[in-house]
Amino acid sequence: MSGIYFLIDTILPFEWTEFAYMKNALLAVLLITPLFGLVGTMIVNNKMSFFSDALGHSALTGIAIGVLMGIDNYLISMMGFALLFALCISAVMDSGTSSADTIIGVFSSTGLALGIVLLSASGGFAKYSGYLIGDILTVQPAEIAMLAVILAAVVVIWYLFFNKLMLTSINADLAASKGINTRLTEKLFVVIVAVIVTVSIKWVGVLIINSLLVLPAAAARNLAKSMRSYHFIAVGISLFSGVSGLVASYYTGTAAGGTIVLIAAVIFFFSYFLNRMRAKA
């Protein structure tokens, strides 16, 4: 870790990198934002932004379950619950009884309400309200290592399964005709989303985690001409808003997560108008 710190000091000899917590935050941002940019592309393509939002909300119930069970590391209970939650939503959607947005809306509210009720019952909600907005400055070196492992794993999965995922997202019948197990592909994607949302919620926060997933990809979609440019632009926007948001939040004394999302939002509107102008020209 000290080697990496030294590297940061050498490359970025600024006031904001003097503090260890800022160095940690920078490393975490450098790992989380490409991860979100990458996975966000298919969340937007699959019209699942509401779904990932619901997963974020379910994290609150996951924390509550962890508190009730007396687990110190809420990550385990959060991830367990989010996976269960995600697969339940996906199973109810497969049954085709109600429209997708209704089903997700029901689950999303339930996840949030259950979390609030359980947490307030077990000794006051205020203690856990930090999870709502998150704090990237509290990230620890061990957690950074975990983020690096998750990023590496997702990149490998993205390398191996992306084509199947993309064909399934174009049209499931067409993908199935090529022998792709579309159910399994969809479930795998849902699991990836559940994992990355829950591991990052502590630092990004329940309220804005979804913006970070959706905004870079949504902006990239306005500009991209192919799948490759879509991915590279999404990851680029995500990285840029992450690092610049972190630095800006240091100098303005604002919450890092919110600042990052605001920058990404500005980029989105910029890309939107650029796209409109290009369409007219």
């Binding site: 390398y159 191996l160 997202s169 067409l174 199935a176 490759r228 879509y230």
Partner: protein, 247 residues
């Protein structure tokens, strides 16, 4: 000498949905090197039958596939050209992305391998599409262009069975002929078994070798010309003036 040229044997196929029977006790053989036209009124279950063949819906009964050497295949490659592909037209997927994702394991988000692009270009020219379509987003294609891209997509890797669901609904007249000529040559060159779902009886008569009339079950099947003359087909398509006597 191999006498059976069966490609697909459908036996007692029944599909139920929400307590209603959509298709019932369908038995049908498709042979190598034949174009079987599946005809019937709207809602007769034609698309349902195709979805069952694709394994997209639960059914009872059996579907067995054979290759051209008569060996049974557990996981057949099916080329499927849907009637009207429902997809998000604003997606940044290009024709090249779509074709390369199908032909290669190399993830298209990192780009395309040169040889795969060349292969996709050849495939497009085989189906009479302009190779310059490769760089276009699939949402920006015209109906005819999309139809050909879907056919190109269906033809690689070479399918054990080709399913064409009303392939001409969005294509202009000249495009229709090119399309059918192409399908006919596929049959001739590769002995590819083809199931064609169509409303247009003139196309069926001109291009299909056999026909089957479906209305929840197979009412008649056999040689195209003979099937066309049967009273069932005449009635289903309103070719026969049914009695003018009011009760």
């Amino acid at each position: 000498m191999d006498t059976c040229k069966c490609s697909t044997q459908i036996r007692n196929l029944t599909v139920k949905k929400h307590d209603g029977v959509i298709i019932h006790d369908v038995s049908l053989d498709v042979h190598h090197g034949e174009i079987l036209a599946l005809i019937g009124r709207n809602g007769a279950g034609k698309t349902t039958l195709l979805k069952a063949l694709l394994g997209r819906i639960p059914y009872t009964g059996s579907i067995v596939f054979h290759n051209s050497r008569g060996e049974s295949i557990a996981n057949p490659r099916i080329g499927y050209v849907p009637q009207n592909l429902v997809f998000d037209r604003s997606t940044p997927v290009t024709v090249g992305d779509m074709l390369c994702a199908n032909m290669s394991g190399f993830p298209v988000w990192l780009g395309h391998k040169k040889e795969k692009l060349a292969q996709a270009r050849r495939l497009l020219s085989t189906v009479g599409a302009n190779p310059s379509l490769l760089g276009k987003r699939i949402g920006s294609l015209s109906g005819g262009e999309m139809q050909r891209v879907l056919l190109a997509f269906a033809l690689d890797p070479k399918p054990d069975l080709l399913l064409l669901d009303e392939p001409v609904s969005a294509v202009d007249r000249k495009g229709i002929e090119v399309f059918y000529d192409l399908v006919t040559s596929m049959r001739a060159e590769h002995q590819m078994p083809i199931i064609l779902v169509s409303h247009d009886l003139s196309h069926v008569e001109k291009y299909a070798t056999r026909a089957a009339l479906l209305d929840r079950t197979i009412l008649v099947s056999g040689n195209v010309r003979e099937v066309m003359k049967t009273p069932e087909v005449q009635e289903a398509f309103g070719l026969k003036l049914t009695g003018g006597v009011k009760q």
